[in-house]
Amino acid sequence: MAEMKSMREAYGAALVALGKANEKVVALSADVSNSDYSWMFEAAFPERFYNVGIAEQSLVDVAVGFAYTGHIPFANTFSFLFATRALEMVRTHLCYGKANVKLMGAYAGLSDSFDGPTHNSISDVSILRSLPGMTIVVPSDPIAVARLLPKIADWDGPVFCRLNRNEVPVLFDESYAPEIGKAMVHRQGRDLTIICAGLMVSRSLEAAEKLASQGISARILEMHTIKPLDRQAVLAAAEETGAVVTAEEHTVLGGLGGAVAEVTAAERPVPVIRVGIDDRFAESGPYDAILEAYGMGISHVVAAAHAALKAKETS
């Protein structure tokens, strides 16, 4: 069993490191800094941290002002609030107006599980993915957070970064060097490809072990950048393995699964089975139990792999 580490602690530490390395970076908060751990940046750089109160629309607009004046603002609040309450600000100024704002979406997916569906963020990727000019990054472990954060700061344009709240398995070592927009093969395979993001990467790797014990060779392709999607990696997976499963902590409508299906349907049709939460809200409860109950367990990835293989054989 891999070591477990807190994603939000990793984020707070990574933001402090970024602040040391880049004096243009400022952090803005909608008064949840002790939830998302941006308090660590506030403690290190009090003169570069601004709390605008419980006002997410203002949070994004104030960040736009910083961006247009040469700073690199990291705006912090819960993921679903960027995608819903502050959406018009994001569309008009980050996407249309090209303001170089970084949206750090805390408590993404079902990771704020006890607070329940009001705090879950299961539609953020599909909503924000439809906006021209948006970039969407989903780190899968604490080292990925630390490695991707400077890339996000350097990226020329707005970024939405989706962050898990909880302890997650550590997947990478210090040599990990991700590039925005470039998918990563964790494990080679012949029979099908599991394209995954965020917490579902570790679960897909465990699913691949189970499948291997059943004689099935599954490629694990981590798509930490959902937009711009690494189309070549998706098409290579479709071409070389002939079947695809997508796995994400998000609705199956329009997120990673939707993005992959759009590419394969148009350019290399193969069976695509999507793992995620169906078109419904979850409920309060322990994180693992909620993931299991709403279709994001390891067994669901394994079952989806079997379904994809069956569809491949009959197509």
């Binding site: 004096e23 601004y50 203002s58 607009d61 104030v62 002002g65 004046t69 008009t92 249309y96």
Partner: protein, 296 residues
């Protein structure tokens, strides 16, 4: 009382009138655009662009320029006329307003039009964006020196936000108003185009805003209320706002929607309607007569 010469007041007044003529032509030409709210803000914009703002049309990206955020984006025909005559682009572009391939979009786009600072159209963004800019300018250093004190690293540039009175129906405006007061932004000035009319009727009926001055005051802003078509008053108020320290400042400019064309004044139906040939001719005649009277 501050002193501005009669000559300056006259020049700015005439600039406002001539830009109303531009706007009437632009909106007649393509039969699309917003006249009423453009006419009400003419003198304020002329005073800013032709006297008050520290800007350089040759360097629209100059880091230490004053920023004018035109938050009531629908009235942008007037903004475009001011920018063109101030030298940001060729005034011949004005007649392409809202045409295919034009640099002058139906609502402002900072990537297409030099001098435009923010996208606007969906209302309510200016104060909060201006708050971010004012904070950023206050702490920013173009070329930090190890010896410079933090205060000497701040930019002297100021931020001006122009918003409409219908616009302040939007909640994010008040979020921004609270934030600007919290951060004691003496380098931020808002000008409220208080023309009393919005798209479907009087602001007093649609969403009452009074007591408007007391509201801003209660939120921690310095408040001035002026006659927004009196150029001397506008110039004085802008100077006074610059002298307010440690809190943001608002100028409530009492204006007339559709100002300058008799049959458009005080009538919400001219919020977004284009003129026909006869209305255009009458409007042009009234505005040109007014220009001639000032030029005497």
């Amino acid at each position: 009382m501050h002193y501005h010469s009669e000559q300056l007041v006259k020049e700015i007044t005439i600039r406002a009138l001539q830009s109303r003529i531009d706007v009437l032509r632009m909106i007649k030409n393509n039969q699309t655009g917003h006249l009423g709210g453009a006419f009400s803000i003419a003198e304020v914009l002329a005073a800013l662009y032709f006297h008050h703002l520290r800007i350089d049309p040759k360097r629209p990206d100059w880091p230490d320029r004053d920023r004018l955020l035109f938050s009531k984006g629908h009235a942008c025909a007037m903004l475009y006329s001011m920018l063109a005559h101030r030298g940001f682009f060729d005034p011949r572009e004005l007649m392409t307003f809202r045409s295919f391939n034009s640099m002058l979009q139906g609502h402002p786009d900072p990537s297409k039009t030099p001098g435009v600072e923010i996208a606007a159209g969906p209302l309510g963004h200016g104060i909060a964006i201006g708050t971010g800019m004012a904070l950023s300018l206050r702490m920013r250093s173009a070329k930090p020196s190890s010896r410079s004190a933090p205060s000497s690293r701040a930019s002297a540039a100021r931020v001006y936000v122009i918003l409409g009175d219908g616009e302040i129906n939007a909640g994010v405006v008040w979020e921004g108003i609270m934030a600007a007061a919290k951060f004691r932004l003496g380098n931020l000035t808002a000008i409220l185009d208080y023309n009393g009319i919005q798209q479907t009727g009087a602001t007093a009926d649609v969403m009452p805003t009074e007591p408007i001055g007391a509201k801003w005051e209660a939120f921690g802003w310095h408040v001035q209320e002026i006659h927004g078509h009196n150029v001397a008053e506008v110039l004085d108020a802008l100077d006074r706002a610059d002298e307010v320290h440690a809190r943001p400042s608002v100028i409530i400019a009492r204006t007339v929607k559709g100002k300058g064309v008799s049959f458009m004044e005080y009538d919400h139906r001219w919020h977004g309607a284009p003129p026909n040939d006869q209305q255009f001719a009458q409007g042009m005649e009234e505005l040109q007569r007014e220009v001639a009277a000032w030029q005497k």
